[in-house]
């Protein structure tokens, strides 16, 4: 036995993660000790400050890494390099907007059930609602999820990656089940997400075990070193790699591991859906990017058919199914699957440009996603008595919205155009960058399919725009109609942030593209 040597811990480099996770722990204590009345205000302020602070810390570390190069932290469990910091920055920015939307309330009601444990429709629940109980646990849960997401793309070994995966997933399973309205759907989403998530993390773990068996290490760089050896155990290696990738593909919602996406996105509280759709995807793609670029370059030939098939399936199935949806959240869910397919193009490219294009695409996609779901949360039903009830998520309820709430509709149209990849929006630049990276990587047949898919996808985005601006509002028999609520202004701030970002990245993408390009180097 060798003597134990304590690992060097570079606390400075850990600041962003420590700020977020520390705040999360602090928030649990606040839940325990701070009186109910002020809890929500305290938690909101704390969340916003912590995420902002972490963002500043990431910017600071970015400067350090640019001048001194990346480094291993905590004995190699975490890595600090360009892609990790860029992804973390994107994550913090997006979760900043996400938290604002999560915190927003309308007429004193936020999007979450006052008592998650109460039976839906029971008198107990009704009493809790009248008493004005608030589920402020949402904030620490979100912060824990963000903490997991920050670690995920920076993980230097598979164990850290696995733990981060669980730390980000477990709070999300719970958050999905906390919707204030349509409790049954929400609980169902939670159960589905949980069971399938646990199922896929078992795959991930098994893959990790096989890779450990193959290389004798769970460190990504060690595994990469062992790849060329192939000492008669190549099936161990290949099966392990496939299993790990499948576990990650589940999180990004790639076909055929996508089935949970529409159900969970529809059932979860809309602010959480936005947060989850944007941030989980960013984090998981960050990790996937690292795994594929660090471990598998020696396996390109073996994996290309596999990844190509997944990418094609994902783009086609996502696009085709999005077209037939009649629910806004489901439509956006399928569109997010299709986008996962587009991002996969950049990953398949296996090229420096692939990394930077994926990073940029994730930012563009995340901004539009958070913004779009934030707006979906504001469009509500109003019954005959004038009470505001749940979200008006059926597509037909969005008809004619352009005339009644032009600003909201224009913002929503902007996000849709960004999804569709129309020039002058961030989405266009993102698609452009990813496609050209894929072409440079020799994957031009994929690009042809991607172009066709995005052409077909534009159909349903445009359909929604047509619906909002050029269709007469439908009237229902029972006097229900669609209305837009204002909230407390937090959503407005978040959506404006996203909208400005989307336009800015579309018009002047160069600074961010340069930034992403300078990030595009993985530490081995």
């Amino acid at each position: 036995m060798t003597a134990f040597v304590p690992p060097e811990i570079d606390w400075a480099a850990l600041t962003p993660i420590l700020i977020v996770l520390g705040t999360a722990v602090l928030m649990v204590l606040i839940e325990a000790f701070v009186p109910t009345r002020v809890r929500r205000a305290v938690q909101t302020v704390l969340a916003v400050v912590a995420l902002g602070g972490a963002l500043v810390a990431v910017a600071w570390r970015w400067g350090v890494v640019q001048s001194q190069g990346g480094s291993e932290l905590v004995g190699g469990a975490l890595l600090e390099d360009g892609p990790a910091l860029f992804t973390q920055g994107v994550l913090l920015l997006l979760s900043f907007a996400g938290v604002l939307i999560i915190a927003d309330r309308y007429q004193g009601e936020d999007a979450f059930a006052p008592t998650g444990a109460a039976i839906p429709g029971s008198t107990y629940e009704e009493e809790a609602r009248r008493a004005g109980l608030v589920q402020t646990e949402v904030f620490p849960l979100t912060m824990f999820a963000v903490g997991g997401m920050l670690v995920f793309p920076a993980a230097g070994d598979l164990l850290t990656m696995f733990i981060a995966l669980e730390v980000l997933s477990l709070p999300l399973y719970l958050l999905s089940g906390l919707s204030r309205r349509r409790r049954l759907l929400s609980q169902e989403a939670s159960l589905k997400y949980f069971l399938l998530g646990a199922f896929s993390s078992a795959f991930f773990l098994m893959g990790m075990a096989l890779l450990y068996g193959y290389s004798g290490s769970i460190r990504l760089s060690e595994i990469a070193k062992a790849v060329p050896a192939m000492a008669g155990m190549d099936s161990l290696l290949l099966a392990g790699v496939v299993l790990v990738i499948v576990g990650l593909l589940f999180k990004v919602g790639a076909v055929p591991f996508h089935a949970w996406v529409p159900d969970v996105y529809q059932g979860a509280p809309t602010p959480i859906t936005g947060f989850m759709a944007a941030c989980t995807k960013v984090a998981a793609f960050g990790a996937l990017l690292r795994f594929v670029y660090v471990v598998t370059p020696g396996l390109t030939w073996d994996l290309s058919a596999f990844l190509w098939g997944i990418a094609i399936l994902t783009m086609v199935v996502g696009t085709v199914l999005a077209i037939v949806q009649t629910d806004m959240k489901r439509t956006l869910a399928y569109s997010s699957i299709a986008h996962a397919g587009f991002v996969l193009l950049g990953i398949i490219a296996l090229d420096v440009r692939g990394i930077s294009s994926v990073l940029f695409y994730l930012l563009a996609y995340g901004l539009a996603t958070i913004g779009a779901f934030g707006l979906v949360a504001l469009v509500r039903e109003r019954d005959a008595e004038g009470n505001i009830t749940g979200e008006a998520s059926h597509l037909s309820q969005w008809a004619g919205l352009g005339r009644r709430s032009p600003v909201l509709s224009v913002c929503f149209a902007l996000f849709l155009l960004s999804f569709a990849g129309i020039p002058l929006t961030a989405g266009f630049i993102g698609k452009f960058a990813v496609f050209s990276a894929a072409i440079a990587g020799g994957a031009w047949p994929l690009v042809v399919i991607a172009v066709l898919a995005s052409a077909a996808a534009a159909f349903f985005y445009v359909r929604i725009i047509v619906l909002m601006f050029f269709t007469e509002p439908a009237t229902t028999a029972d006097g229900r109609e669609t209305t837009v609520v204002a909230g407390e202004g937090l959503t407005t701030v978040a959506v404006l942030l996203c909208a400005v970002g989307t336009v800015l990245l579309g018009v002047l993408p160069s600074p961010i593209l340069d930034l992403a390009a300078s990030a595009a180097k993985f530490m081995l």
Partner: protein, 99 residues
């Protein structure tokens, strides 16, 4: 005894777990299937640790156990709340969400 036998065993356990998820209707049983899969992975880790003559695999097994336990906590919370709502823990009853 060859270490390969342990690997075969863990493979069998893993498959049993996966099949349990696929065929059992009760959410708790399905979840037990997942736990079985995690433990199969644990067995693999420990076997490989033995094979490579080091301890890392065993340490990983500890971590996995902790993760499995937290999964149990969260999973049971979700399953219990659904059970209380519907009076059933069958995962075939939860299909309101579909296309």
């Amino acid at each position: 005894m060859s270490l390969v036998n342990y690997l075969v065993l863990s493979g069998i356990l893993f498959s049993i777990g996966a099949v349990t998820v696929l065929v059992r209707r009760n959410a708790i049983v399905a979840f037990m299937g997942v736990e079985l899969m995690l433990n199969a992975a644990n067995l693999t880790f420990v076997t490989f640790a033995r094979m490579h003559g080091e301890l890392q695999g065993q340490v990983i097994a500890f971590f996995v156990m902790v993760v499995a336990a937290t999964e149990v906590v969260i999973g049971l919370a979700i399953i219990v709340s659904i059970f209380r709502t519907r009076g059933s823990a069958s995962i075939d009853d939860v299909n309101l969400l579909k296309s």
